[in-house]
């Protein structure tokens, strides 16, 4: 079942999520990133509202179907990006999210979804700006890995732990 010990920061983001909601996708200065899949247990939607003059994110929103870590990761991302320039936010790495929330190794994939969703949102905004995507046109969820490879995961988790956890319903 898998509800590991969570950090205070993570619990705060889960219990008091920042910026829950959505922007209408037909606004040209909105970028939307959707990653994950229902079958994997995580779908994350991160949206940014950008000032085209300055390339600065003026607002951000999220909606997430997923575990506590997934909700907290997306909440944190929306908090981090406000007031930042697009070039700046694409530098945010999953490991930054994982460290800030002290994600347990079994939840590393949630931080990956967080950074992927943000990158997708930025890309979507740029596509809209360049005319590659018409605002309001049907969105396809972006590809993302469902979970991450055991080797990859343990690498990210470092010395501290394994990504495989005992989880069973007795």
């Amino acid at each position: 079942m898998g509800m590991p010990e969570y950090s205070k920061k993570l619990l705060d983001h889960f219990e008091n999520p920042r910026n829950v909601g959505s922007f209408p996708d037909d606004e040209p200065n909105v970028g939307t990133g959707i990653v994950g899949s229902p079958a994997c247990g995580d779908v994350m939607q991160v949206q940014i509202k950008v000032d085209p003059e300055t390339d600065t994110i003026i607002d951000a929103k999220f909606k997430t179907f997923g575990c506590g870590s997934a909700v907290a990761s997306s909440s944190l991302v929306t908090e981090w990006v406000k007031g930042k320039k697009l070039d700046e936010v694409v530098q945010i790495k999953n490991i930054d999210i994982a460290k800030e929330l002290e994600l347990p190794p079994v939840k590393i994939h949630c931080s990956v979804l967080g950074s992927d969703a943000l990158r997708e949102a930025v890309e979507d905004y740029r596509k809209k700006q360049s005319g590659e995507r018409t605002p309001g046109e049907k969105m396809e969820p972006a590809p993302a890995s469902c979970g991450i490879g055991p080797g990859e995961c343990d690498e990210m988790a470092g010395e501290e732990g394994k990504c495989e956890d005992e989880c069973r319903i007795d």
Binding site: S37, P38, A39, Q45, T64
Partner: protein
């Protein structure tokens, strides 16, 4: 605020000042149960003055311990309709399952090489069957239908001349679904193969009679029936037919050679007492639990849309319900209702993300398996706790759905099943 209410708030973790209900609420009795105070009372003397080794034949310390074990054997035998000499004490149901599968397959090698079990069995059976398959035995894993049941005809069709043992559980731990064990027992008797039944979740919650049900071997555990952890039972029939599994643990020949090791006398006394209490109270407890479970289920289903009960609607333990809450993930629900202890069929590893294999085997889509919670009620569950749980769950689901992009899509009329999600995971 009254003083007791204030004290409750101070004492209880995450307390809500509701005079009628104390939190946290425990609705995870299929995982384990508290030891009944009457059971603990019965056990204590066997830690203190009656500490003897039941195998010591030369002094009263040993005789007293041996008498206590004999009494417990009778109490256990009574709850499953067995002969006392067919009761073997073990460390728990996992060990009993191991002895039943490994011990029988090894002992009756000359009879055949084939084991039959089902996809929704507990890991103690599934993993043991995998181990035997790797060791060279032929293993058939039967599918279950969408209700979670194996049909006797499937068992009949799977039995070959080489089949030695069929292992099908009585009640499933995740869903509470009951298999038609009596009919499967009839098939096994007709075809002349041994029938092992993991009854860990069923003891005390449904009547069991090993003779009437044609069960030759049975596993059960103390801690699921308000007894202590670390003690369990293997029933192995000594006549019609005689089943004597090879030992897994050797060393002293205790328990007729089927399970060596000094007997856990206090644990065994507790297990015996726990069985007797279950027997005495079952006639009242079964309908009481059923009523509370039905109230919980109805309260949740009436209060929320797109909520589904997993498993057979009626062939189920009276204490258990497994519910999928579409558009929300199980762990997030548990975090939102953290003063209520339940389990979820959602995944918990970054490496695989595969949800419950039991729900998967029943054909529940992974999306809905991730969205599932198991509520299992028990002896000390009250109606007030159920009322509180219904309200908490409804609120949590509404709140989480507001946060769910999938719910938003559904509200907009988008069929999320038709979206090309660009990731699938391998089961």
């Amino acid at each position: 605020m009254s003083l007791p209410c204030f004290l409750t708030m101070v004492m209880m973790y995450n307390a809500k000042c509701d005079m009628t209900v104390k939190t946290p609420i425990y609705l995870d009795h299929n995982a384990t149960t508290p030891v009944d105070p009457r059971v603990l009372e019965a056990m204590l003397p066997y830690y203190r003055e009656k500490f003897g080794n039941a195998a010591s034949r030369s002094h009263p310390y040993g005789w007293i311990a041996a008498d206590a074990v004999d009494k417990a054997r009778e109490q256990v035998a009574a709850i499953i309709g067995a002969e006392t000499k067919d009761i073997v004490f073990t460390s728990g149901a996992s060990e009993s399952d191991n002895i039943a599968l490994k011990g029988v397959m090894e002992k009756y090698k000359s009879k055949g090489n084939h084991l039959i079990t089902a996809a929704t069995e507990h890991k103690a059976v599934i993993d043991t069957a995998d181990y035997l398959a790797k060791a060279g035995y032929a293993v058939t894993i039967l599918d279950v239908d969408h209700n979670g049941q194996v049909h006797p005809d499937q068992v009949d069709a799977a039995i070959t001349d080489d089949t030695v043992l069929v292992s099908i559980m009585l009640a499933n731990n995740e869903t509470g679904v009951l298999h038609p064990v009596k009919e499967i027992g009839e098939v096994c008797e007709k075809r002349g193969v041994f029938f092992h039944c993991d009854a860990t979740q069923a003891v005390g919650k449904v009547p069991i009679d090993v003779k009437e049900m044609g069960i030759h071997l049975l596993a059960m555990s103390g801690h699921k029936i308000y007894g202590p952890k670390g003690v369990g039972v293997l029933y192995a029939r000594s006549r019609n037919p005689r089943v004597r599994p090879e030992a897994v643990i050797h060393g002293g020949g205790h328990e007729q050679g089927m399970r060596s090791g000094t007997l856990n006398v206090p644990g065994i006394v507790g297990l015996g007492e726990a069985c007797e209490l279950c027997m005495k109270e079952m006639d009242e407890e079964i309908p009481r639990l059923g009523k509370l479970r039905d109230k919980l289920e109805k309260g949740i289903l009436d209060g929320l849309d797109e909520v589904y009960v997993n498993g057979h609607p009626t062939d189920r333990l009276p204490s258990t319900t497994n519910i999928s809450f579409k558009y929300v993930e199980g762990e997030s629900i548990m975090m939102m209702i953290k003063d209520i202890a339940v389990s979820s069929g959602s995944a918990c590893t970054s490496a695989s993300l595969a949800p419950s294999y039991v729900l998967h085997a029943m054909g529940v889509p992974d999306f809905l398996a991730h969205a599932s919670l198991r509520f299992s009620l028990g002896r000390f569950t009250t109606e007030e706790e159920i009322d509180y749980t219904i309200e908490r769950v409804k609120k949590a689901i509404v709140r989480l759905r507001e946060m769910s992009p999938l719910f938003e899509m559904a509200q907009k009329g988008i069929d999320i099943d038709k979206i090309q999600w660009k990731q699938e995971h391998a089961h």
